[in-house]
Point group: C2
Chain length 118, copies 2
DNA sequence: TGCATACTGAACCATATGGTTCAGTGTTTA
DNA sequence: TAAACACTGAACCATATGGTTCAGTATGCA
């Protein structure tokens, strides 16, 4: 497991690769929530939910704070900026590749029609 | 591992959660490549590279085709549209949550200054 | 024909992941 | 003060991941 690149993106994309965790982000977008309420909603043990929240926290997507006996989870201020940036940059890569392909295809078509005037 | 949501996003975010695989996408953005050339560039065995390519392929991000004895890898036409859509939608969620917090804070400030006129 | 190339598949390994249970610890509240 | 609540941590389990090696198979070229 050589590391030539962003461990931050590793962590956040891995965090997003699980439906439960994407659901937690959805949920926290509506309102802050305790571990217990999230565990209820996603039908999971407290321990299981805590692990998911920790994954999101390590990725910087969620922030938690303990007040008394309840730990409240909130969306992290960092947001999804870095992830959006990577995705957008590479969306253009995909698009450019297909544009290049289109060029080749239209070149081929031009050549073809050049060979057969009208 | 209950599944209430998009296994497609599970696959693609998981595929993106690895620096080598993000690097492969980078590379394929510049030019199509064989398994061998990718394995060379990322200093990995053929078998190891093949596994990465398979992960990308299962996620629909890469398409491969075998001609003779060489398998050529290309970016998939599907692109990163679904992933971009999810991220953008949730970026707004994050933003909205902080806008709400700002409102609360400015309310608090207003109340405070109301109590202490000039 | 025969050797080099390019991939493929099985088997293996260490570590990570997604979950559980059980046994705590610290906080509220009746 | 005692019971209920909210979380925490350790231990365990099955499966997935990221890699390897080794032994093929199929293709291309001299």
């Amino acid at each position: 497991m050589v590391q030539y690149a962003s461990p931050a993106l590793d962590l956040s994309f891995a965090a997003l690769a699980d439906a439960t965790r994407r659901g937690i982000i959805d949920q926290l977008g509506r309102a802050d929530a305790s571990i217990t309420s999230l565990a209820d909603r996603f039908q999971m043990t407290l321990t299981g939910m805590k692990k998911h929240v920790q994954v999101l926290e390590r990725a910087g997507l969620v922030v938690t704070q303990k007040a008394g006996r309840v730990r409240t989870c909130t969306l992290g201020q960092r947001g999804l900026a870095a992830e959006a940036a990577w995705i957008e940059a590479h969306r253009q890569l995909f698009a450019a590749r297909f544009a290049a392909l289109d060029d080749i295809l239209s070149d081929m078509q031009r050549e073809e029609s050049d060979g057969q005037p009208e």
